[in-house]
């Protein structure tokens, strides 16, 4: 089944049935995934450390059928101020990470590509670590101005800056070299890691614990304000994704062939990189490091519905959101009333899966 991945199964558009066409399966899968996502969202709304009844809140909210006496203020806060923003943010971030992974894998024509390759993660950590360590000293004026939003804003700026730097290095005479970008990405990530390391050295023990928690990722800080800021960026980026689908399908034949097909390859790269940087930057900024969603989700879907990006991208958004929400339910209930960082959950599930994919690929290469 995986062999088909190397060929764009059905990018020959319209017309009659092409052999290996899985667009019917894909459409059905997208429908199913949408239903699944809605179900998981409702389930998440009812699951949590407390026994707050989401149903009561929804009834009160929609139909005013519940009298205020029946509904405690505490339950309302738990459902509307804690769980609901968290679910919406989780769904947005899960979609952003999965779609970004799918776009980058298409762009680099490398199934193991993830947002780390374009410097997003390294830049975001540098911004976040800088804020945690220097927030009380050098960056104190900035921190005073931006208050609790200092860290997400700095992480977002850090991710954008590194991506644009990398992009500038890899682009000569209007042509972006994917190979240069990959190699320069390693160098930039190492440089950012060195700066981050220097900051970690300066950190005191409390800051070190904050750093650890940030790097493990969490949706715990979800607020409506954060959804407004990072959610709008993520939505814009997700809205751009469908326009990339046809181009990415063409690109799977190689850059030269894609050019011959009339695909504006350079513009495709521009838009894809900006989209990914914005989506992942905005995600990492509010949630910290959440690994493996970007790699696991597109892979799983390629196995199921084939590599056609017209279906792969929306399906990735749906499945990414679903899986991250499920991981978050685990993270907030498994050690209740405490909380397990979600990065631990996604990595614990994602890493073995990733290994399995690697081994299967090896098996295919060895055949």
């Amino acid at each position: 089944m995986l062999k088909r991945m190397e060929f764009a199964g059905s990018f020959a558009d319209g017309g009659g049935q092409v052999r290996g066409d899985r667009s019917g399966v894909a459409r059905a899968a997208i429908g199913l995934l949408a239903v699944l996502l809605l179900t998981v969202m409702l389930f998440s709304l009812t699951a949590g450390a407390s026994d707050a009844s989401a149903w009561m809140v929804v009834k009160h909210w929609l139909f005013s059928a519940v009298s205020p006496e029946e509904l405690s203020q505490r339950d309302r806060i738990i459902v509307l101020e804690i769980r609901l923003p968290r679910i919406i943010l989780g769904a947005l971030i899960g979609s952003a990470l999965a779609v970004s992974g799918a776009v980058l894998q298409g762009l680099f024509r490398n199934p193991l590509a993830d947002p780390g390759l374009v410097g997003v993660s390294a830049g975001a950590s540098l911004g976040a670590v800088g804020t945690i360590v220097l927030g009380g000293t050098i960056l104190a004026p900035v921190a005073a101005l931006l208050n609790i939003y200092t860290l997400p804003i700095m992480a977002f700026l850090g991710s954008l800056l590194t991506t644009f730097l990398l992009y500038g290095i890899a682009t000569r005479r209007g042509q972006t070299s994917v190979a240069t970008m990959l190699l320069a990405g390693i160098a930039i990530a190492a440089l950012a890691a060195a700066l981050t390391g220097a900051l970690i050295y300066m950190a005191d023990d409390q800051q070190l614990r904050d750093l650890t928690f940030w790097s493990l990722g969490s949706l715990a800080g979800a607020t409506w304000a954060k959804i407004g800021a990072s959610g709008s960026i993520i939505l814009l980026a997700l809205a751009a994704a469908p326009f990339l689908a046809r181009g990415l399908n063409g690109l799977s034949l190689g850059e030269a062939s894609a050019n011959h097909l009339g695909i504006p390859v350079q513009r495709l790269k521009n838009v894809a990189i900006v989209t990914v940087a914005a989506a992942v930057g905005a995600s990492v900024a509010v949630s910290g490091g959440i690994g493996f969603v970007g790699i696991v989700v597109p892979h799983l879907l390629r196995l199921m519905i084939g590599p056609d990006h017209r279906y792969l991208l929306p399906a990735s958004a749906l499945l990414g959101a679903t899986l991250l929400l499920l991981a978050d339910v685990v993270s907030r209930t498994i050690v209740a009333p405490a909380e397990l960082p979600i990065g631990i959950v996604t990595a614990a599930v994602g890493a073995p899966f990733f290994l399995w994919v690697l081994l299967r690929r090896r098996g295919i290469l060895d055949l």
Partner: protein, 308 residues
Amino acid sequence: MDKGLHRLAGISMRAGRAALLFSMLAMAVSSATTTSALAEETTRIEDSSRLISIGGSLTEIVYALGEEKRLVARDSTSLYPPEAGKLPDVGYMRALSPEGVLSVNPSGILLLEGSGPREALDVLKKASVPMVVVPERFTGQGVLDKIHGVGKALGIQDKADKLAASVGADLAAAEKAASSVKERKRILFILSMQGDRIMASGKNTAANGIIELAGGVNAIDGYEGYKQLTDEAIGKAAPDVILMMDRGGNHAVSPEQIFGNPAFAGTPVARTKKLVRMDALYLLGFGPRTAKAAHDLSVALYGDAAEH
């Protein structure tokens, strides 16, 4: 081809600037509310029948006051007395989850300074759970302030005064003993040793506080917090005594391992081989047991003579 990107970059930059401006405005409004929320002085919690204690030293104080029946949950740093470990754990004090905290249905929360994150506290405030933030200082007075703060929050000042008086007397005795020490020993507190790499405590740490209370001198004064030391810095620190946390079992670093480290060659401690180990929370908690910990440390450093 690049035009598209330039246009996009232009648009995103403008959008970014607008977003930044907007968020700054929003911040200006919200910062006023959040800081005042945290600056709240230690006051009384109206209904203190179902409390969560966040911070090991605060939990210890509640137990020392004999008010543990009021506790419904604790944070993961609250490990003493051992009974406290049986309470539900709402997580690490700086990474609290608001729903987890609300799920034990608290009537009030005691928080040690530094608890968070801020978002969690904001939501808890919205849910109108009374919160009292108790300041953290690594001095004898800091311990007494904590006791008074907890007493006030629970509405049992009399009991707190009594506890503070007895802890205060012990602290005063420890301080007197410390001031009578003629030759202060230089103490190197080693937080951890990974191979030959040594993490030691500088200024502004609990370790520094307890060393001073016990009449010692922190051998490291060049930095704040806990950092890894170079071999030369260890030579320059010239410690007389090494102080470590007692982890027990197989986790403990053996004396051979420590004194076998060439970095210590030529320092006074290489001759005396004086190594003091104490329980982490006892030594560094800055709670009601701190006076005794300072005394124990002082005895370990100078012998029983320091007692008189």
